[in-house]
């Protein structure tokens, strides 16, 4: 049995910041990551971030990952990193079980735990949606930006939110043709600055359109879209056909909540946070007192807010086990203030509403 003060599950932006913050508070940290690299999805994000200076605005995601890893290195005496390790279970007695390298099993007993498992891509229902060539937008980003492999020659992007717009731009940077972007909503969901860039490059954006069907024998050859009326019902005769070998599905993410569910903490379906999320207090402590959470696993937002939530959870989980940072109150107030800032615009109205619903005071 491995004993540690604080275990953190997930080495993405939230988990990394939680580890840094907890180490700064004097906690001994065990950071568990299922992949062989840290940084989560930051490692494929070539675009510059929004937010403010404290969340590394105007810095590319790939460079933010490097900054965080350097900070982690500064605290290496207090942080043990366990990669290639998948957490399998969280038990009532506080023990967690994990598997390393596919064949070594272990038990870990932390005094406190932060679950920062992130999110997974949602899917869309339409005939032949299982054809190879139909990929999540994030998957295409990984293939292109991490492995340097093109997904195909011609792409239909489904979803005009920020991820759909950004990945479309990145596809063009990789030399892939984007035939069109479609979105079922009557207006573009992503930021105007991203949409304008795409339109200037000549890519049409069809709003109020959805996928009617995909066509192909072994892999995608053609995608047919059709228009939706004001009641979101498809209009016969409005079909448009695209000869594409790739369709990117960018219809949002949903929290990876399996571990939180099995930990026994109270969960609730909150559509504004994109799924079933843990109830938590302002310290990001769940209803199981030694379990904290941060990042997309407690509500899908941006990487910027995931980082701040990580810092806050690391600070508060450390305090919970008796490692109070000398500037605890100041730091906590600053993190809460940063989160309010990130959630302040009109685009974040749904996040504010969701966060309010997930709060247990």
């Amino acid at each position: 049995m491995i004993q540690t003060q604080l275990a953190i599950i997930g080495g993405g932006p939230a988990g990394l910041c939680a580890a840094i913050s907890a180490a700064e508070s004097g906690s001994k940290v065990l950071l568990i990551e299922r992949n062989d690299t840290l940084g989560g999805q930051l490692v494929k994000q070539t675009h510059m971030f929004f937010g403010s200076e404290k969340q590394y605005a105007s810095t590319r995601g790939i460079d933010i990952a490097k900054i965080l890893l350097d900070k982690l290195e500064e605290h290496k005496d207090n942080i043990t990193i366990m990669k290639d390790t998948t957490v399998l279970g969280i038990y009532e007695d506080g023990v967690i079980t994990a598997m390393r390298d596919e064949d070594k099993y272990m038990k870990i007993k932390p005094e406190a735990l932060i679950v920062a498992t992130g999110a997974s891509e949602k899917f869309l229902a339409f005939p032949n949606n299982d054809l190879p060539g139909i990929y999540g937008a994030g998957a295409v980003q990984t293939l292109m930006n991490v492995h340097g492999v093109k997904p195909g020659n011609k792409v239909l992007m489904v979803g005009a939110g920020n991820i759909g717009l950004i990945v479309s731009y990145q596809l063009m940077q990789a030399g892939v043709k984007v035939e069109a972007i479609i979105d079922a909503a009557p207006k573009i969901g992503g930021y105007l600055v991203h949409a304008s860039k795409i339109r200037r490059m000549g890519v049409p954006i069809y709003t109020s359109y959805t996928v009617k069907e995909a066509i192909g024998s072994d892999a995608l050859e053609k995608a047919i879209i059709w228009k939706l009326d004001e009641a979101w019902k498809p209009i016969a005769g409005s079909e448009i056909s695209f000869d594409v070998d790739v369709m990117c599905v960018s219809v949002g993410l949903t929290p990876l909540n399996e571990l939180l569910v099995m930990s026994g903490c109270e969960m609730q379906y909150i559509p504004e946070l994109s799924g079933i999320v843990p109830m938590r207090n302002e310290n990001y402590q769940t209803t199981v007192p030694h379990i904290f959470t941060a990042g997309d696993s407690c509500g899908v937002e941006e990487a910027s807010s995931a980082m701040v939530e990580g810092y806050l959870a690391g600070l508060c989980a450390s305090d919970h086990i008796g490692n109070r940072h000398p500037m605890y109150e100041e730091k906590k107030a600053d993190f809460i203030n940063q989160l309010e800032g990130l959630r302040s615009g009109p685009e974040a109205a749904h996040i504010r509403s969701g966060v309010e619903k997930s709060l247990r005071r």
Binding site: T46, S120, D130, Y135, A139, G148, V149, D218
Partner: protein
């Protein structure tokens, strides 16, 4: 299918790795995943569905969705989107659910 020039990224590929897929020898690079190497070699169909035998490719590429499961060196249900390529690996399309040995 490999990106040669990119305005932001430099792809410093590792050393060449030879692996086998369905009887063919293919080339990938150290550090990349089995699914990425197959895709770079033009292979999009990674498996088939269990009941209706429909072709399957990857979907999430980060180890969440299980759409990329293949038989690697005789071991079934390997998530090829997060499994690193190794010299001499043998990769096959899996039929059925796979068995515990």
């Amino acid at each position: 299918m490999r990106i040669k020039e990119h305005p932001i990224l430099n792809f410093n590929r590792g050393k060449e790795i030879h692996f086998r897929f369905s009887g063919k020898t293919m080339i990938g690079y150290e550090g990349e995943t089995v699914a990425a190497a197959l895709h770079a070699n033009g292979v999009k169909v990674l498996g088939e569905s269990i009941e209706k035998h429909r072709p399957r490719g990857f979907y999430c590429a980060i180890g969440n969705c299980s759409s990329c499961l293949m038989e690697v060196d005789g071991v079934p249900n390997v998530k090829t989107c997060v499994t690193k390529l190794k010299e001499g690996m043998s990769v096959e399309i899996q039929k059925g659910k796979g068995e515990l040995k």
